[in-house]
Every structure is written in C-alpha cells, then in structure tokens.
Symmetry: C2
Subunit: 480 residues, 2 copies
Amino acid sequence: MSDTGVTVKKNQDFSEWYVEVILKAELADYAPVKGCMIIRPDAYAVWEKIQEVVNQKIKATGHRNTYFPMFIPEAFLRKEAEHFEGFTPEVAWITQGGDTTLEERLAVRPTSETIMYAMFSKWVRSWRDLPLKINQWCNIVRWETKATKLFLRTREFLWQEGHTAHVTCEEAEKEVMWALNMYKDVVENFLAIPVVIGTKSDSEKFAGALYTTALESIMPDGKALQMGTSHNLGQHFAKVFDVKFVGEDKQDHFVWQTSWGITTRLIGAMIMVHGDDKGLVMPPKVAPVHVVIVPILFKGVEAEAIAAKTKEIAQILKSKGLSVVLDDRNEYTPGWKFNQWELKGVPIRIELGPRDLKQGQVVIVRRDTCQKAPVKEADIPSTVERLLQEIQDNMLSKAKAVLQEKTVCVKTYEEFKKVLEAKGGFLKATWCGSAECEAKVKEETGATIRVRPFKVEEPSTGCIVCGEKSRETVYFARSY
Amino acid sequence: MSDTGVTVKKNQDFSEWYVEVILKAELADYAPVKGCMIIRPDAYAVWEKIQEVVNQKIKATGHRNTYFPMFIPEAFLRKEAEHFEGFTPEVAWITQGGDTTLEERLAVRPTSETIMYAMFSKWVRSWRDLPLKINQWCNIVRWETKATKLFLRTREFLWQEGHTAHVTCEEAEKEVMWALNMYKDVVENFLAIPVVIGTKSDSEKFAGALYTTALESIMPDGKALQMGTSHNLGQHFAKVFDVKFVGEDKQDHFVWQTSWGITTRLIGAMIMVHGDDKGLVMPPKVAPVHVVIVPILFKGVEAEAIAAKTKEIAQILKSKGLSVVLDDRNEYTPGWKFNQWELKGVPIRIELGPRDLKQGQVVIVRRDTCQKAPVKEADIPSTVERLLQEIQDNMLSKAKAVLQEKTVCVKTYEEFKKVLEAKGGFLKATWCGSAECEAKVKEETGATIRVRPFKVEEPSTGCIVCGEKSRETVYFARSY
C-alpha cells in the first residue's frame, strides 16, 4: 500500500482527487498501453460481487450465459447501416495473424449484436425456440480518441451484454423494462447509487435500436453518468440477419429483440459518489473486506492476550460469512493502519487495546460517518451486522439527498444556463420533442437530454428553447 | 434441440462422433469467423462450475483475481527472446484504431506474462509486498494455422492464468506444485478424468520458463491431451522486466516467478472421455442439470395427478440444491425426450407414469450405465443423492481403467513403434535425457515426451533409442 494518504480534497479538484484515490487505494493502475487500465484486486472484487448479483437475477429468470468470439468480420458490422456508422469510428482492427495479412480485417467487438444474431438466424426455427435469452460477460474495445479516464472511459473495458429474441414486441418491451429495473436494483441497493430511469432521445439511442432506455445519476462534480442501458432493437437486426421463426400460426415472422448491458464503469461511479477526503468508502454489500481488526499494542502490554482475542473475534465474524482482515503486522503502527484501511474504504474497523481488553470490549469505527463507539465483546457480531446494514442504508440516503439537491426544475432557458454554469446537475426542463431544440441546447451549453422519464409529466409551459407546445419534461445534463 | 440423435459411433469414427455430439448436444457451434467457436450455454455452465471450484481454491490460498489489458505492445513481447520466438508466429495483431494506423502494432494477448510483469516491477518494492499472487480469467488468442478443433484448438479460447512472485526459488517451486495438484484435483474429482503429472522436457516447456510441469491424459483415440500447465519461470522474466525487491537483508533481489493455467479445452476432454453412442455423459459435479423429470402420459390417464406429482418431486429435489428440469412439454413424446436428455448427458432421469403413480414410485435411470430401477417416492431424494455420487465415482473408475489399459511399458524401440501404431496411448519408455533421441522419436513416430514423472524410476535398461545409460522412464505419446 501507498505510504501517504490522499492529498487532494474532493471538493477542491474532483478530477485529481478521483485519480489519486484510485491509484493510492490500488483499485486500478494505468497500463503501459495507451488508453488502457489494469483492474486491480480490490476493484475486481467489486466487479465479482456485481457479477454474482446479476448472474443470480438473470439465471433466476431463465437467461443463460454463453461466449461468442470477440472477432467480428467487417462485413457483419456493415450489415446494419446505423450500427456500422455508430461503431466503426472506434473499432480496433486486426489485420495480421502471425505473418499473414488477413483477407478481410476483423473488428474487435465493440458490442456483439452482429455476430450473435448471425447465429440466432441459424438457431431459431420455430416459436418453440423462443424466447431465446442469453448473456455474456466479456471484454469490449472502443478505440476512444477523447481523453480516457480510469473506469469511466478506457479503450478496453469489461461488461455484461444480455441479448434476447421474442415472439412479440410486447414481450421484448417487457424484457427491456425487466433489465432496466434489474439494473436499478443492483445500482441502488448494492452500489448505493440512486438513479433516474427513462428513455433516450433519438439522437442518443443505441446505433440500430428502436429505442434505448437508460439509468443515469449525477456525480459530485455535477456531471451525469450513464450507468447502464437496455435497448428495444425491434426487428431491425432480425431483418438484416434474417432471424425468423415459424409461429404457432405456421407463418414466418421476424423475432423482436432486446440487448442490455452494464460495465466496469459502475466501479468508477461508486468511487465518485461515496469517496471522501480520506479515500474510498465501500458500500458493505460490494465491499471486498467488511471488517478490519487492528490490535493496539502499547509497549507490548498484554500483547499475547490481545493477539489471541483479536484472532478469536476475527474467527467469530468470519463464521458469520463476513470478509474480515486481522491486520496484526508488526512493521506498521496502528495509526498507519487506520489511514490505510480508511483509504481502502473498509466499512467497519475494530480496535482492541490493553484497556479494552481489561473492560471486555472493543472500539468499533464506522467508515461512512467516522463515528466511534465501545462495544461489549458479546455484542460484536450483532453490532457489526446491524452497522453494515445501517452503513449501506445511510450511504444510499446520503446519495439520494445529494441527487435531489442536484436536480433542479428550470422554467426558462436563461435559468437553465445559469443553473448549469453554477452547479451542473440534472435540469428538468420542458421540451417540444424536436431534434433542433435538442441540438441547440447541446451546442450552446454542452448539455444533452439524459433521460425522458417514463411517467410523462404533461407540461403546462412551452418548450424551454423554442417556446412551442411542450411534449414532455426531460432531464438535461452535461455528462461523462 | 436437434431432431435426431448421434448417428456416428464413437469407436467407428471418433473425430466425427466428437463433432456431432458437440453440435447436436448444443455445447458449441462453429463461428462465422475462421477458427473460432461459440461456447453455448450447456458448455459455458460447465466452465462456470470449473471457475467456481478453481476460484474457491485459489482465493482460499490468498490469490486474488484481477484484469489486465488484452493488448500487448510488440516491444514487450520482444523483451524475453525465447518468449517472443515461441509466441509471435501465432499472434493476432491490431494495426488500426478507428481510421488511424497505429505507430506500434499491438498483440492480442497470447498469454500475459509480459504486460503483467511490467507492472510487477512497479508494484513490488520490498519483501513486504511478496508473495504477490494474482489470477485472471480472460480470453486468449493464438492464431493457429493447423486445423482447428472445437474446444481443443481454436484461435480464441478462454482460460485462467495465475501469476505469482516470490522471495525464494523454494517458495516458487512450492507454488508450481500447489497449482499442479490443485488442477489434478479439479480434473480428476470434478471432471472425472484421471491424469498423469510430471515435468516437460526442455523442448516442450513454456517459452521463457525454467521448467514446465503439466497434467496429461489419454483420449479414447489414443492421443494424449495436455490438460493444464504450471511453470516455474525462475528469474528470467524478473531480470528482463526488472522485478526487484529489497529483502530483509536490505539488499536488492530479483523475484522468483510462476505462472499456471487451464483452458476451455478441458470441456473437450470431458466430452471425449465420457461420451458414448447416445451422446454426452456429464459428470454430476459439473453437470448443468442433475436430474430431468419426464412425466409419461398415456392417453391422458391421470394426467393431472401425474403433473402435480412430478412438480412436487422437482420442488423437493430443487430444495436440496440440485439443478432439476421438469420436461412437461406437450409437443414432444416421452421417447423423444429420453433421447434428447441422454444426448445432453443429464446424469439422472426420473420417469413417472400412471402405473408408477398408483404404486407410489418412480423409475430412475442412470445415464452412465443406463440402468433402470423403481424407487419408492419417499426414497427419491436419498437415492438421487447417492446415485449422483456413485455416477461420479463410477465415471472416474471407468476412466482410470481405460487410462491404465492405454498405458504400456515398452522395452524396445520396435515395441514402442508397434504399440504406438496398434493403439496409441502412453508409452512408458526409458530415455537418456538427450534432445537428439527425443527429436528422433518425434520425427520417426510423431510421439513426444508428454511428461517426465516426478518420482524418477531409475531404469535398469538403456535408452530406448540410443541404448546409452538411461536417466529416467518417461511417458511418450502422440498428442493433440
């Protein structure tokens, strides 16, 4: 671990703070390949927790994991025109295998619709083969030309992509909403990040989709971050890749499809939303370590008894299924250890010194509030269990209050610009639905429509840009 | 599922049988990219079981999962000369990102030593940072020019690669053996495939290693299959990538390193070893489905009662943690279902018809022996549990007997060639240790040294090739 704590304050230079926390807490490191990163064990453990939760949810609903090649022939990408336009500018191309130049260059998958659906057309024959619901966890490459940022924008990242094919549009619509709400549950109840959900405007939808739904939140610097998407692909790809089935009516039909994904960027969001000037704050439900125990040795007083007692406590907590570290290293001082484990965001610290030993107690410190309290030995397991839940709940509540504070209804374009400059965040504003007004806002302010809420609030005032009759109230923001 | 069963007999055309079983049982499919495959859900589920077991074992011993970029700059590969020679002929190269031609082409990882150890040199400072024990699950690309084969040789495959750095050579040696024995446990006790273990000869070792250990088995066609490797890398890479630490003696030292891996080829081995003329036979411990329940409806007699009873049985078995499919589809006959689930290798089938219902029993059929027996309703859970263990044990015993039958001690080079032509398999033969004799055997017979057993049997006869004093008895075979 690093020898020094975080030196930049979160509210002074958010961007610097973010990078420093990640590097010092050893969540990630810059790779010696431009635009790429290394996901180190403490961050990968969070990803594994996300995988565990998502796998449980998708398997319980009949989705099955699979693995498709990461190489996609250029001709496949070209088949769906919008899709090709959308993705080729950021495709990495394989042109040589060994000493041989390939006849057709191969894309490293920027997403897998095309190669998967080429197979769907072979596998799907009859209505009995539907719904087809698969998922894969894999690496994805998008050759970013913009500045990259650890976890949020790198040329390679990890994700999960669900792909389904259905008999009816209604079924596909249901699947889209199921995935979106599944993600909302994972992000809110495990990562403790509140989100807003809704559909994207046409200009922001997935290349080739009928429509895209998304979950978004606001980061502490006022910028929105897209946390996941779920697309209704309609029959666009089915027609291009000829994914047809014979229905119960004995007729040929094209399938209705969906795709949906979340990425390792979620880890970046977790760091941003919860971290503080001491470093990370890990939501207990995804924390790689729940409890760290630090023996406080004072001139060797009762050293053996303290060592024995801390081991015993660690054992008891482990037997409850918790992840516990007993940091009994001699080469570091307790103070140094406190700083290091705070930097790493471990939810609960337990301290035990000679005086505690005598009084049959320990001191428990919460990472989220830094509150300290003595706890009787017999009460440790129940207190830890209660505190982990309290910390999880408190982190979500705090984040919800922040999100609310950063969501502002604006009535005029002037107010829109003023609030955007002053604090960023979500700007709820009326919109006539035209691409022109949307483009004007983007060009003049850098803000885009992040989501159009599902529950349409019929606006009483006109479009914030053109003043014409508004179709709906939408969430604007500058975004990552 | 496919409409027809396996049409090729395993002992008639093994290679055809293998492909037919895989395609019809829907374990995999050829991808529309040359040399690549799609791992379909039933096979991916086996991979997930392997991941679960291996993860449990590596985490319990302090290894942590991580993720490194799949792009490796050419200069990195070039740093270790042997390594570069060994891998570049089969590297896929990225030369373009979007519209831009890259200044330095990037290799898609054929293995990750070089990019990982470049980071180790940054992360390892003192003996306190050691041992460093990490692992990653990822995709790997080797641009094969030989004919590819589903699961066994494809241009992209999935694997796990463990990488460790240690203070002493002894520690690294211990780690190498730990990984090898961990793999032996997984392959023998989960996949039910018996293996022999030992070191590789120098000509067969990993490019850049001090020595390589491996586990190998014999497939039904008499060819050996390498099932996993564990390398002692010595200090070769440490010197090239400058991975140094300050010891407790305050001096600089290079670390000692290991790397080890298993791949999705294990799934191919499982299919080959256990499958029969009806299709797959899944070892219960890795089977995606443990039990399939088929209601037998005869002219609708007792249809509702049978439906209710099969549901009840499914529920009870699921509550025991088993994976159960109740195949109550109306559109297929029981006979068709029997064939399909046998094709898919589900270990246990439960049938329930009107007569069974009346007698308060079911019929249980084992996939491995095809034995049928009536079982009283109350005894179903305990019988299923017992049978799953029996099937697992029986599959390993049978495979052990086959391996033993396919392992022959040969005394002369003539006998060596005769047995190799007649039945293949492992040929235990004396070897003087020279690369010349090894090369001669390879050139003249196609057989290579698969492993040199750890327990050296001091041979009383001379080298099978040159007649000079033998150093040891080794396992030769033709191999995949």
